[in-house]
Symmetry: D2
Subunit: 467 residues, 4 copies
C-alpha cells in the first residue's frame, strides 16, 4: 500500500473559517489519516488544535465553534505510518518570531534537508522535530530579519530543493506556494467572497466552493484583506507534476493539475485494453482503486464488467489478533470474492498499481481455490522501479517488486496466467498534458537532484514521517 | 434509509470460540451497528460481554483472549436506531433459571408480544426491557418446569407469532431455530470439526468455514457434545422468506435462502432493463447499494456503466454541525458526482429501492446543476407501500413515499425525466424459488396475522428497538 | 480493607431532581465506588442512567440536564469489589410490570435469597442477575397482582429475611423502607418543600437540606403528591443497628442512628485511653480512619497528638506494576511516615479496626526501620471474630485475623510492643443508645437467623456483589 | 488557591529507569497536576512520552515497559492552570542540535525571558512556545558551538536571571542545576548504585532511595557513566530559598532545603501560639493544609485539637453545574464541618495562608450558621503582600487580599472575631537557617532584579503557563 502524502486546506475571510477548514479536510481525508490540525488567526494570535487520528476524531464542536476563532483558517492532514505516530510531528507547524505568528502546512518532501539543517545549526538554530518543514520555517525566520514575509518565503524557497506545496498563515496573511516544478497539487477556489485553497477540488465540492485554477508551479499567492496577489517565486522550471496523483492518489471526483481524475483513469484502462487485449469472461477491479480503469478497459474491450470482489466497509483499525489458523486475515477481512461468480471463469483483473504484490497474490490464490479457470491481470500504470524522494513512501512497506523482478516472474509470483503493465507512452497518451509530469518512479529520471540520495532515505527513522 | 435487522453468529467446540464469534460478527456488521454482544459457556456458567457500538469498538483482546472462556460461543449485533441507544437492550439476552444459564440472540420481530406479556404478567412475570426477546425467554422458563430445554423452546415457539431466527446457548447446548415461515435467514456451516451458524454466509468466508445448508423454516437444530440433531418445531407452513434480504440487506457476497445475492441483484437489474428500457448515455448506480443491479442493467441493455458518483469512505458518526449555508450536507458528504462526466449527458440511475426519496432528490438536483440533460431512474424492486411487522424498520425514518404517492408524482418530486419500479412478477422472475417469499411490503399480504396491527406498531416507543 | 455497603439518595418534587440526586450520591461516595445509577420518573416512564465508576465519571451534564427528566429521582452507589465488576449488577434495579414502572435501590443483604429464589423459579420467575434485590423485586411483582404497591412491598418484606434499607420509585411514588431491626441506616430530610432521603446526613449538608429524623426500623414511608405518610411494615423487632457504621463506615460529619459519628469515635478513643493507658511520646493515627479516635485518646490521656503518617491524596486506580524490588508498594504509596518524627520515639498508634493486619504490619515495620523505640497500638473497636451476613464484606479480602489468632500473637505478627482492642462494654459505653446495635461480628450473636449460613456465604461467587 | 510549581525527578543507571521516574513523579504529584512527561536515553536517542493530566492518567504499562527504553530517565510534572492547558507546553522540553539530544525539565521562573528572547530572535532563533524554558534551551544550543555541554549550560546560566532548578538529559549525561540563590529545591539521593534527583525527598521514600544532600545553590552536578561530579556554576550568591516551600508547598513528609517540613510547620504553629494566644474551646485546622501548624499550636497552647472540618476525598474535576440555589458549592463539596461540634463553641482556626480569603469566608459563614459563638483565626505565615516572580502564581486567581487590605478589614471581610498572621521574625524563628530564604512575598525585597517587572507579569497571557 502506498501511504504518503498530506492534504492542505485554507480559507480567508469566512465567518466560520475553522468549520470550513474542518469540512475541507474531511473531504481530503484519503490524503492522510494519521493526524489533523487546524490553525486560525484571531486578529492577535494564532490559535491551534492538532491531534492524532481522523478529522472527525480530532475536532469537536467546542474546537470549531469556540476555540478556533478568526476568519482565516488553515488545516493539514497527514498519512498514517506504521510505528510510532507522534503528535509532535502533526502539522501545521507553528512558531513565533518577533511579532510574527507563523503556521506552515506542507505537502511534499525536501531533498536537501540535512545539509540545510547542519548549516542552520552552525548558525545556532535548534530543532524540535525531524521534519523538513521545520527547516523551512527556520529559513523563513532567518530571512525575516530585515525583510517582508513574502521576501523571506521567496529566499527560503530559493534555498530548499524538493517538492513542496505550502499553505502559510503569517499573522493576517494567507500565503500559498507551489515549488517550481509543481510536483504536488494545490488549487484555488472561491466561496462567495472568500478565497479558498485545497490540495484537490473535491474539498471545494463539499463546501460548494467554485474552482478557479491551480496555483501555478513556482507561484506564490498572497491573500491579505480579502485581496489576492500573485508573485513569481523563482526562475521558471519545467513542470514535473506527480503523475501518481492521477493514477492513484487523488480522489476520482477531483481535478488535479487541471485534469479530471476519473476520466484519466478510464482512459488509462482503455489504453491498456488496446495495448494488451485478452480473451476473458469478464473484467473485474479490486475495489475501489481499480474501479475506474476497469470501467475504461471494459468499455474499450467490450468485455463485461463485474464487481465481484466485495469490500467490507466496516474495517476498522482492529487490534484483535486473528486465530492462528486464519491466514492472510488482514486481506480477507477487507476483500471477499463473490464465490458463485468465480467457478470456471476466465477472469481479467484490472488494478491501478502493484507495489509488493503480496495482497494481490493472496486474493488471486483465493480465486484459484474457488475454481477460476484463468486469471489475467492488467495494471493501469507502468511498473514502479524507482523510489520517490518527493513525498510518496513506496518503500516504507517493503521493496518495490518491479525494481528487482522481471514481469514474467511477478506474474508467476502472484499466480497469474498473464500480466501486463501500461507502457510509459501509453500512460502519457492517457493524459492531456504530455511533457508535464514526473515519471521518476518508472524511469529513474529524477527532475530534482537529490544529492547522495538525501531526503528521507538518509535521515534517521523518524524522518519518514514527513508529509 | 432502511435500518433494521440484526446479525447472529454461533460456534460449537472451537478452542477460540469467542474470537471466532468476534470475526463472524465483524463480517456481519452491515446487519447492525448499534450494539454487539458475545456470550460463551465456560463449562459452569455463561460469560458475557456486550457494549454499544461497532464490533471492533466493543471488544478488545482481553475480552476475547481471557474473559470469554469456553468452546461454545454465540454473538449478536443490532442495528443503529435514532434516539436513545440502550445497553440494556443489547443482546444476547441472558437469564438464569434454576440450573439453567440461557442466552438468546434474536433476529426478527414477534407480533403478539403485548398479549403474551400481559398473560405472563398475570402469572407473575416481571420485565426489565421492552424487547420481544424477553417475552420469548419467559416462555422458555415457564415451559422448562418439568421438561427439557428442547421441549420448552418448542412450546415457546408454538406460543409466539412472528419472525424469528434464534441462536440459544443453554448450558452446554447451542440451539438454532427458524420460525415456520423462515422469514429471517440462518445458515449452518462447518469449520473443521465444529459447527457454525450465521445470518449470512459471508461470515463463513471470513473464518474460512464451509457452507452446508440453511436452517430450514420451522427447524430446530441442537448441537451438543459436538453432535448435531435436527428437530421439527411445529407443523409445516409455507416459506415466506423476506425478499428484501436479496434486494437490499444481505451482503452481495453472501448466500441467503440458498440464493446467491450478487446474481439475484444483477438479474433484477437485467429484468428491469427489459421491463423499462431507456435511451441514455450511460447507466450509473448510487454506490454501493445500486451497484449490482446497475451492472445487470448495463449488461442487458448494452448501455455503458459509469461509476460517476463517488462515495467518501471516511464518513464517520460526525456530530459537527455544518455551516448554515451548507444545505443537504449529510448527503453531500457521502456522495459526490464526478462533475466532468455529467454535463450534457442523459443519465440513467439504477437504485435498489426508494424509501422517502429525499436523499435521491438532493443528488438528482445536484446532477441538474452540473448540467445533466436527462435523468432517468430505474429501481430494482417494486414500490414499497406497506409497513413491515417482521423486523424491517421502513417507517421509523418517515413515511414510505410510495404508500401515498403515485409513481409519476414521485418522479416529479425527485426531479426525474422518468421513473420505473421493477414489477412484482419481474422481481419473482429474478429469483430462483418463486413462491417462497414474503412480499407484504409490496402487496400488503401479510403471511403472519398481526392482530390489531400489533407488534412494534402498537408497542410504546422504545419497542422499536427490537431486532 | 472492609469494602461493602451501598449508598442511597432520593428526592421528591424538585425541579432538578436528578441533579440533586447526583450531588447526594457525590457526598455518599465513600459508601461505594464501583457503580452509580440514577432513575427519575418523568410522568409517564422511568428514565435511568447507570454506569461503572465514581459518580463524577458516570454522569455528565447531558444526563442530568436533559435525559433524566422529572421531579422525582432516586440514586444508588455500590462499593468496589475485587474481580469482575458488572454493569448488569449496577442499581437501581428496574422492572416493568403491567402498568408499573418500578426501580429499587437496596443497601444491605438478604439471608434467605436462595430459598426464595427456588420458590419463585418453581412458580416461573426467571432471573437475570444474582442480586438478592432481584428476588425482592419479584416478590413485589407477585404480590402486586390484586393489591396496592404498599401492600405488595409489605408482603415482600414479610417474606424476606435480612438487612435492607430500600428506596423504591414506583410510578409517581417514592417509598423508603427500613428492615425491622434497622440494620442499615436511612434518614429523612427536607429541602424547602421537598422530602429527601439518604443513607447519611452528610448528603443533606451538601445540598443544604435539613435533617428531620431517621426512617425508623420497620417503618415504610410513602411520598406521593408531595405528602408523606408513614406505615408500620411488620410487628416490632428489637433494634439491631450496625455499630460498624459508627466505628468505621459512615462519614465523621454524618449523623446515623441519631448519633453524631465524630463524637462517638472520639469517645471510643477516650474509653480506650481509660481501658489501656500506655506511656508513649505521642499518639498517632493511621489517616484518615484512625483520626477521630486518636483525637479522643490524646485528649483523654494527655499524650500529644502527631499527624506523622502522611496520606498521598493522588493515589489512583493505578495499574502500573512496581519494580520487582519495590516491596509493599501499594501500602507505601498511600501512607508515608515523617522520618524525622520517628527516630528514638515511643509511638502509640490508634486505629479504628484491624481486619487482616498485613497493611498495618508493613507500616509498623517501616517505623522500626526508621528507629522507633517502642510501638504500641490501640484499636477503637473490639476484635472482629465473626463474618457479617448483613452487608459487610469483612471476609472477601482474606481471613479475619482475630477469628483465629489470640491478641498476643496478632501483636507479634504485626510487630507491636503492645496491642489492645476496645472491649465490648467499652464500645457500648461510647455510644448513646446501649441495647440497639448488632454486635454479631464481635460476639457471634446474629440477630437474624441465617439458616445454614445462607446469604452471601452460600451463593456462588458473583453474589458477593450484593450491596 | 496558590497553584504553581513543578516537580522534577531523575535517575541514572537503573534497569527500569522510566518506571522509577513514574513513581518518583507519582510521589511529587502535589507539585503539578496539569501535565506529566518522562524522557529516557536509549543509548542512541531520547525517547519521550508526555500528556495532559495526572501521572497515572498519562502513562500506561506499555510506555513504561516498552517504549521508554534506557537506563537514564528524567521526568517533569506541571501544575494545573485555569484556562487552556496545552500539550505543547508540557515538559520535559526536547530538542536536537547537531549530535545532541537534549531534554530539559525546569522548576522555577526566569525574569529576563523577554529581553533574551528578543536578543535570540535577532540572531535568528525561532520559538514554538512561550515558555521561558525554551529560551534557556536556545542559549545552551548557542553556546554548544565549540564547547562542551557543561560549558554551554554554565554560559546559559550566566545569561539568565531568575529561579531555576533544572534536570537536563543530554545524550548519556544527566545534569542537575540549581540557580545561585537556590530559590527552588532539588535533592540528591542514592538507590543502590544509582544516583537519583528529585524536587523533594518524599519521592525518595516511595522508591526507597536514600537521601544524600541537596544540590547546592549555584551547583551543577553531572552524572556520567555512573560517576558524579560537582561543578560550581557561577560566583557565589546569598541563599534565597523559597520559604513558601516550607510553609505550604512541599509535602509534610519531605525534607527541602535540609529542613524537615513537618517540624517546621509545627514550630510555626507553636510560635503563633506564643505570638497570639487566644481563649478558645479548641483549635481546628482547615484540612489538610493547616493540619501541622494546628498540631503545633495545640501543643504549645494547651488547647485541644479537633479535626472537625471533614474533607471529601472523592472530589474530582467535576464539570456538573450545581443547581442555581446551591451557593458556594465548590467549597462546600470539599469541606464540611461536623455540625454537632460547632454549636456554642469558641473556635480557633489555624490556617497556613490566606490568598484571596473567599474560600475561608464561606466556611466561616457556615460555622456561624451552625451556631459557633466565637471564631478566631491564626495564620502560620505572614501576610502575603507582593507577587512572586520566581514561580508561584499567587496572583493568577485574583488579587492578594493582604496587598491592599489592612488585617482588621480582612478579619471583618472573613467574619472573624480575631485574626493574626505570624510575624516575619516569628517565621524566621521557626526555621533552622535564618538568613537563607526569599521573603519577597512578605516584604517586597526581591533578591533577583526583575527589571520593569518582567517575567510572567509582562509576557502575554499564555506565559502564565511557565512552571
Amino acid at each position: 500500500m502506498k501511504r504518503e502524502y498530506c492534504g492542505l486546506f485554507g480559507i480567508y475571510g469566512h465567518q466560520e473559517a475553522a468549520r470550513m477548514a474542518y469540512f475541507g479536510l474531511y473531504a481530503l481525508q484519503h490524503r492522510g489519516q494519521e493526524s489533523a490540525g487546524i490553525v486560525t488567526w484571531d486578529g492577535a494570535a494564532i490559535r491551534e488544535h492538532r491531534g492524532m487520528g481522523l478529522v472527525h476524531d480530532v475536532f469537536n464542536e467546542r474546537h470549531l465553534g469556540k476555540e478556533l476563532k478568526g476568519q482565516i483558517a488553515m488545516g493539514h492532514i497527514r498519512y498514517s505510518t506504521t510505528g510510532v505516530s507522534l503528535i509532535r510531528n502533526a502539522q501545521p507547524f507553528l512558531v513565533r518570531f518577533k511579532d510574527w505568528h507563523i503556521a506552515v502546512g506542507h505537502n511534499g518532501n525536501l531533498v536537501n534537508t540535512l545539509e540545510l539543517r547542519h548549516e542552520l545549526e552552525n548558525e545556532g538554530s535548534i530543532f524540535q522535530t525531524t521534519m523538513d518543514t521545520e527547516v523551512f520555517v527556520h529559513l523563513i525566520a532567518k530571512y525575516l530579519n530585515g525583510g517582508t514575509i513574502e521576501e523571506a518565503i521567496q529566499k527560503a524557497c530559493a534555498k530548499v530543493r524538493g517538492a513542496y506545496s505550502l499553505l502559510i498563515l503569517a499573522n493576517n496573511k494567507l500565503i500559498a506556494v507551489r515549488d517550481p516544478h509543481g510536483v504536488r497539487p494545490l488549487v484555488i477556489g472561491r466561496l462567495n467572497d472568500n478565497y479558498v485553497f485545497a490540495s484537490e477540488t473535491c474539498a471545494f465540492d463539499l463546501i460548494e466552493a467554485e474552482y478557479i485554477r491551480q496555483v501555478e508551479p513556482g507561484e506564490m499567492i498572497v491573500v491579505e484583506g480579502g485581496r489576492l496577489s500573485s508573485l513569481r517565486l523563482l526562475e521558471k522550471a519545467p513542470k514535473r507534476q506527480c503523475i501518481f496523483e492521477l493514477i492513484y492518489f487523488a480522489r476520482p471526483d477531483s481535478m488535479v493539475f487541471d485534469e479530471g481524475v476519473y476520466e484519466r483513469r478510464k482512459t488509462m484502462g482503455a489504453t491498456l485494453a488496446k495495448e494488451a487485449p485478452v480473451d476473458a469472461d469478464f473484467v473485474m477491479p479490486f475495489p475501489d482503486s481499480g474501479n475506474y480503469a476497469a470501467v475504461g478497459y471494459s468499455q474499450a474491450s467490450g468485455l463485461p464488467l463485474e464487481l465481484a470482489m466485495i469490500r467490507n466497509h466496516y474495517v476498522g483499525r482492529t487490534f484483535i489478533q486473528p486465530s492462528q489458523d486464519m491466514r492472510n486475515f488482514s486481506v480477507r477481512v477487507k476483500l471477499n470474492p463473490v464465490r458463485s461468480m468465480i467457478e470456471g471463469k476466465r477472469i481479467l483483473i484490472v488494478e491501478d498499481s502493484i507495489v509488493r504484490g503480496t495482497t494481490i497474490r493472496t486474493r488471486v490464490k483465493k480465486l484459484r481455490e474457488l475454481g477460476a479457470r484463468e486469471i489475467h491481470m492488467r495494471v493501469s500504470c507502468p511498473a514502479i522501479r524507482f523510489p520517490c524522494f518527493y513525498g510518496i513512501d513506496f518503500s516504507s512497506k517493503g521493496e518495490l517488486i518491479a525494481a528487482t523482478t522481471p514481469v514474467p516472474d511477478i506474474a508467476r509470483f502472484i499466480g497469474l496466467d498473464s500480466l501486463h503493465y501500461l507502457s510509459v507512452p501509453g500512460l502519457l497518451d492517457s493524459v492531456n498534458e504530455k511533457d508535464a509530469h514526473c515519471l521518476a518512479c518508472f524511469d529513474g529520471n529524477y527532475p530534482i537532484a537529490t544529492g547522495c540520495h538525501q531526503g528521507k532515505m538518509c535521515l534517521e527513522n523518524e524522518s519518514k514521517v514527513t508529509g
